[in-house]
């Protein structure tokens, strides 16, 4: 126990912290500019100086650790004089233009000058002058105002790991600049501007449009861009989100944001938003209609189709960004009609992979806290680049690397290139082979012992079919030596983390791959994190948006159709009506024209979305959806943590989705008597065992699965391992066959600034990343005579698109990564699919593509 005296108060501390932390813990405020709790110690601004007894000079409280018996004084005449002097120095080169600076009112320099500064300056010589730099479309740099605290640089290097900016020049002529010069060549996380204490690095998106004190409200809510579920605050003026601000003390992200969350909020106020319901008239055109009219139309037609063709002829698909409440209501409508044809976008990866892993390792095995990643012994990532799938989760993997933990990536993960110790690179679809090789090597070092359970037995049965490192290398291209050293690193470490993305199951044998992953996790006592591309994939599965699951995860034995089966049923005429809430299957699913043709056959297609999409053009009824920030509800993140979404825009032009769903539901004689979203959660809490008793007030603390209730009894699936040997064998054979295919193989590139198809509606995100891109290997590009920035044409049996070329060392030869974001240039349009009978995932099939200079 350490006892220190600060300003006459005795403070007891368990472990040595800095004087600043000790003082703040005791409620004693010491002014600082350069220090920040999320950043490396610096000690540059010299504002936090204090007097320490028995020390000859003033000490910077942000860097000096307390020692037992230390006596500190934070406010003495000497300290006040030093602070006054430091502020005078800082103001020498700081323009006094607060009246035109957006930071005024929340500027730390301004606040401290008011408190400690001199009334007038004594500096009469000329100030340093730099022109404001507006080369970047998002971030404006005003280096005249910069006080060189380097918080932004320390954030960029030490936390974000982007290494995009640096202090340039020396002494009082230093300034901060991106290495790329004017425009940033970075990840646009905006965390640099979060930590800028003055008005030097600011967002251009809302310049000169507010004063901090003029905001109507500040609402703490959850980001909707991906399944991390970052906490952020929306600041609203005149019913428009002016800006997004972080909270460094709260949430799973502790203030860190990514470019989508930080800058991608403007779509909410887009004039392109759907405003009125549209109903197809007799001439086949979409006509505006009133809400009541739309409810009647939809309810009437649903009832009619059910009556005429049976309940199995209706179905619904829920998009990954919908709240638990919305998802619950839509599945309630479907099940109320007697149909189990309800599925969500979680079917494309998260749900099937999770089901296999949790059946193998136990329920809740994938509910782990992200903050554990950086302190785990090692990190293994597979099936997607965590820094673009779930950017803030990716930061945890980078943090582990910074703490000298080994980080191993399998496959394409360019965001980890500076933060991994080993890359087992392979083509998409070959991840399973690498996992199999890794498992074999791990088994050699650390055999399964003791546990007499089904997984352990199964692993034993796989042994003779697992490929050797040499064979893996031959099939996948990952170096045999690297596979061996990766296995050694993982086998010798304690409690590693495995981060897996849905691509584990997008290009090949999802079940085999997931079983291998579960086996590795089992052997290593690893924690498994399943990336969730969209914000509520987990929650939708939990509230019953799956044909085989009831709310709470209880199994449903009655037959229903999964996502792709519904599309196929529409094509074959078995499905007559489909309600699509917040999803754009024509664009997002592989199969291209086949999906369009299938949807065209429907008697009733209801599309509820916030913008017109490729799919809404086919609909018989288009319902404008309420967006994020316009509705209350809950999201469940990839940790299986349930979190509360708040309404920031109060006077929205459209009814919230749940009111629309309830409007239709009540016309179908279903009990939809809800006054607010919490009423829906109260009902979920009654019917779902995991949510049992959960109310909104409990959600404030972000409870983790099994939220408040009991985990469901997991259905014993002896079949889980029954065919596992065959599946793994088949997976290895598939990999071998795939290797020999001619032409290019297509895989999905997930740009950092976009997620799904929503980013194309954000002007800010389009400024960051405005067009379709294709990533090629250096070797292929050279062979084809293509250079970075040139336009390439990619063509195949399903069509042809043009993409701007980028090069990346992580891309194996013969593979092209292309984005699926922009209208008319979605990579999925090139792909056919086959339905994996084990996981019911539509596996994108796009081989034999031709790439040429456009």
């Amino acid at each position: 126990m350490i006892t220190v005296t600060i300003d006459g108060r005795k403070i007891e501390l368990e472990k040595p912290v800095t004087i600043l932390e000790a003082a703040r813990g005791a409620g004693i405020e010491i002014p600082t500019l350069c220090s920040h709790p999320s950043l490396e110690l610096w000690g540059g601004c010299r504002l936090c100086v204090v007097e320490v007894e028995k020390m000859p000079r003033l000490q910077t409280s942000c860097t000096v650790s307390v020692a037992d018996g230390m006596v500190v004084r934070t406010e003495t005449p000497q300290v006040a004089q030093a602070r006054k002097a430091m502020l005078e120095f800082l103001l020498i080169n700081h323009p006094l233009e607060c009246p035109v600076c957006d930071k005024a009112g929340e500027c730390k320099l301004q606040d401290l000058t008011v408190k400690y500064g001199a009334a007038a300056g004594r500096f009469e010589e000329g100030k340093r002058a730099y022109p404001e730099n507006t080369d970047d479309p998002i971030i404006v740099r005003n280096m005249q105002r910069c006080i060189l605290c380097t918080r932004c640089v320390r954030m960029c290097e030490g936390v974000q790991g982007a290494y995009a900016i640096s202090a340039v020049g020396r002494g009082n002529k230093s300034y901060i600049e991106p290495f790329s010069g004017g425009r940033y060549d970075c990840e646009y996380c905006g965390n640099c501007l979060s930590v800028c204490p003055v008005g030097s690095i600011m967002s251009r998106l809302h310049r000169y449009s507010y004063r901090p004190w003029q905001m109507d409200r500040k609402v703490n809510t959850i980001c909707s861009w991906c399944g991390v579920g970052c906490t952020l605050a929306l600041e609203v003026r005149d019913e428009e989100i002016k800006r997004v601000t972080p909270d460094f003390g709260a949430g799973v992200n502790k203030g860190l944001l990514c470019c989508r969350g930080r800058f991608g909020y403007d779509y909410v106020a887009s004039p392109q938003r759907l405003a009125k319901p549209l109903l197809r008239n007799k001439c086949g055109e979409l006509d505006p209609a009133g809400w009541e009219e739309a409810y009647d139309f939809i309810a009437g037609n649903l009832a009619k189709i059910t009556r005429e063709h049976g309940p199995q002829s209706v179905g619904a698909i829920v998009g990954g960004g919908c709240t638990n409440e919305d998802g619950y209501l839509l599945q309630k409508i479907m099940r109320g009609l007697g149909s189990n044809n309800i599925d969500s976008i979680s079917r494309l990866g998260l749900l099937p992979v999770q089901q296999i892993i949790e059946q193998a390792l136990g329920p809740g095995a994938t509910a782990n806290l992200m903050e554990g990643i950086k302190i785990s012994g090692a990190v293994l990532t597979v099936g997607g680049d965590p820094t673009s799938f779930n950017p803030v989760l990716g930061l945890q993997a980078r943090a582990a690397s910074r703490l000298n933990k080994p980080v191993i990536t399998i496959g394409y993960a360019p965001g980890m290139k500076r933060h991994r110790s080993l890359s087992l690179n392979c083509a998409p679809g070959q991840e399973g082979v690498v996992l199999a090789g890794l498992l074999k090597e791990i088994f050699n070092i650390r055999p399964v012992t003791g546990d007499n359970n089904s997984l352990g037995e199964a692993i034993g049965r796989w042994q003779d079919i697992l490929p050797s490192a040499g064979k893996v290398s031959e099939l996948s291209g990952a170096a045999a030596l690297d596979i061996k050293s990766a296995a050694k690193i993982l086998a010798e470490t304690h409690n590693p983390s495995i981060i897996a993305g849905r691509e584990l199951a997008s290009y090949g044998m999802g079940k085999a791959n997931a079983l291998l992953l579960a086996a590795i996790a089992y052997m290593l006592h690893a924690k498994v994190f399943l990336m969730s591309e969209l914000s509520n994939e987990q929650g939708l599965a939990d509230v019953g948006c799956a044909p085989e699951l009831l709310p709470g995860g209880g199994s449903n034995s009655e037959k229903g159709l999964t996502l792709m089966e519904m599309i196929e049923a529409a094509a074959s005429g078995g499905l007559k009506a489909l309600w699509i809430l917040g999803e754009n299957p024509v664009f997002s699913l592989p199969g291209g024209d086949a999906v369009t043709q299938a949807l065209k056959k429907l008697d009733l297609l209801i599309v509820q979305d916030i913008f017109h999409t490729e799919t809404s053009g086919l609909a018989h009824a288009v319902l404008p959806a309420s967006g994020w920030a316009e509705t209350e509800g809950t999201y469940t993140n990839l940790e299986k943590r349930i979190q509360l979404l708040k309404k920031a825009i109060i006077k929205a032009d459209r009814p919230e989705n749940w009111r629309v769903l309830a409007g239709v539901g009540s016309r179908l004689s279903l009990d939809m008597a809800y006054n607010k979203t919490s009423d829906i959660m109260d009902e979920i809490a009654k019917v779902s065992s995991v949510h049992a008793g959960l109310a909104y007030k409990d959600i404030e603390n972000g409870p983790v699965w099994p939220y408040n209730g009991k985990p469901p009894v997991m259905r014993r699936t002896p079949a889980l391992f029954e065919n596992s040997r065959d599946l793994i064998n088949q997976m290895i054979n598939d990999a071998d066959a795939q290797k020999r295919l001619p032409g290019f193989r297509l895989a999905l590139h997930r740009p950092l600034a976009h997620n799904g198809y929503m980013g194309r509606n954000s002007r800010a995100l389009l400024k960051i990343d405005g067009g379709p891109r294709a990533i090629l290997s250096n070797g292929d590009a050279e062979r084809l005579g293509l250079e970075k920035g040139q336009v390439a044409k990619v063509s195949g049996a399903n069509g042809a698109f043009k993409f701007k070329v980028e090069l990346c060392a992580d891309v194996p030869e013969g593979v092209i990564y292309a984005s699926n974001v922009f209208k008319g240039a979605g990579a999925m349009g090139l792909a056919g699919y086959r339905l994996d009978p084990e996981t019911m995932i539509p596996i994108a099939v796009a081989d034999g593509l031709k790439v040429e200079k456009a």
């Binding site: 110690l41 610096w42 000690g43 540059g44 601004c45 010299r46 504002l47 100086v49 000079r57 003033l58 860097t63 004089q81 030093a82 002097a85 430091m86 005078e88 120095f89 800082l90 020498i92 080169n93 004594r122 500096f123 010589e125 006080i147 060189l148 380097t150 640096s166 202090a167 020049g169 020396r170 002494g171 009082n172 002529k173 230093s174």
Partner: protein, 432 residues
């Protein structure tokens, strides 16, 4: 007796053969026969203090690094001689590079370091050439390499060139620069002896310090202690420049009085003019008046005169020198070399320079003197590293000792004939 410069004056002194003929590598051979602890013990007993400026006991520094359990350990030679007026290391680097290599071999033997770096001033291209040749020769002859002298273990030596920043002479900034980072000082603690280059225990020694080691090993600690002041024994290199008849480099025992250096060795003030001021230890050492020239030149005595030994560089000014201009020129240097990490140094040095510039150009007011003193006091004791303190102390002492010069400027123009009209004209170098 000289034991450093004698090597630089021997025929073919820069070559291995010439150096060996002059008696080189005998000290290292002796160290080869001793255990690490014994070598450290001899250096500790010798009382050798670092010649980079701070005067920290070398043996002690070694012991800290030696006792740290982390490995590997790194030996860094600070050859970033950037202090204005200082040209002592340069002579060794250009004329007796093997003396430095031998010194580093002894230090490496003591520390069990297997990798050494010479962090060389970027503006020393000739030194780089001679060092490269000398290192190549030393590898060829087996002084350096995987198996030093067939049984001395591994020692690799590389040169890392500074890109032109004075601050990289500060050891933690030097380490940052060596690692490829921005040349700015690091927080201490942890000190380099425990967390230095690449996070490992690291000893940073000055060229001249290392050049003392061959003699200490060969002659023994006792003999070394007999030279100079017992509290800071040994010879010291004194680069003398400015208004003297024979500017140059002199190797004299520690504690030699300043006036003896100026008058007996450097030939007295040029042209028979009267002595006005002396900077005794490079530009960061506060200026002394002519009346203080009886000061013994060592780490102990100079602080009693309100200055410090620093690099030992003696800069002499005669009676015709404008001390405002000297102060302005000094501050111009500090402003340019301030790394920008901490507020008082970054902004304060520039402010001091602009005020001095205005006074020298004829725009001074009497209140400016108090302003200058106030700025200095606002810097002193609040900077991250000693650079800012050095600048402010230097400025404060110019005012303290030569207030009359400052006051004489308030009439509107510089009273000294050879002063330039606008101090900012041209390159800013002091006029001849």
């Amino acid at each position: 007796m000289q034991y450093i410069l004698n090597y630089t004056e021997a025929p073919d002194s820069a070559t291995l053969a010439g150096y060996e003929r002059a008696g080189g590598y005998r000290g290292f051979r002796k160290a080869l026969g001793l255990e690490s602890a014994a070598v450290i013990d001899i250096v500790k007993k010798s009382g050798l203090r670092g010649r980079g400026g701070a005067g920290f006991p070398t043996g002690m520094k070694w012991l800290f690094a030696f006792q740290d359990p982390k490995t590997p350990k790194y030996l860094l030679c600070n050859a970033d001689e950037g202090e204005p007026g200082t040209f002592k290391d340069r002579r060794i680097l250009e004329k007796a590079p093997h003396l430095l290599i031998e010194g580093m071999l002894i230090a490496a033997r003591a520390l069990k370091a297997e990798q050494g770096y010479i962090y060389l001033r970027g503006e020393y291209p000739a030194a780089k050439k001679t060092l490269e040749l000398a290192i190549a020769e030393a590898y060829q002859k087996g002084y350096l390499g995987e198996n030093v002298m067939g049984g001395g273990g591994r020692f690799q030596l590389s040169i890392c060139r500074n890109a032109g920043a004075y601050i990289c002479g500060e050891e933690t900034a030097l380490i940052n620069s060596l690692e490829g980072k921005r040349g700015q000082p690091r927080l201490k603690p942890p000190f380099p002896v425990s967390v230095g280059a690449f996070g490992k225990p690291t000893v940073v020694n000055n060229v001249e310090t290392l050049a003392n080691l061959p003699f200490i090993m060969e002659a023994g600690a006792e003999a070394y202690l007999k030279i100079g002041n017992p509290q800071c024994p040994g010879n010291k290199l004194f680069p003398v420049s400015g208004h003297v008849d024979r500017p140059g480099l002199y190797e004299l025992p520690m504690g030699t009085p300043l006036k003896e250096i100026i008058h007996n060795h450097a030939g007295g003030v040029k042209g028979g003019k009267a002595l006005k001021a002396v900077i005794p230890g490079g530009i960061s050492a506060p200026v002394l008046t002519a009346g203080m020239a009886d000061c013994p030149m060592d780490f102990i005595s100079l602080p009693r005169y309100g200055s410090m030994l620093g690099s030992g560089a003696v800069i002499v000014f005669d009676e015709t020198t404008c001390m405002v201009k000297v102060a302005w020129r000094a501050l111009k240097f500090f402003e340019y070399e301030s790394c920008g990490k901490c507020t008082p140094c970054r902004e304060g040095t520039g402010w001091l320079r602009t005020v001095l510039e205005r006074i020298e150009a004829g725009g001074g007011r009497h209140s400016d003197i108090a302003l200058l003193e106030d700025i200095c006091n606002n810097i002193i004791g609040k900077t991250f590293c000693p650079l800012g303190d050095g600048a402010a102390f230097a400025a404060l002492n110019f005012i303290k000792h030569f207030r009359a010069d400052f006051e004489a400027h308030m009439g509107g123009r510089c009273p000294y004939e050879n002063s330039v009209k606008s101090p900012d004209a041209g390159s800013g170098r002091p006029a001849a």
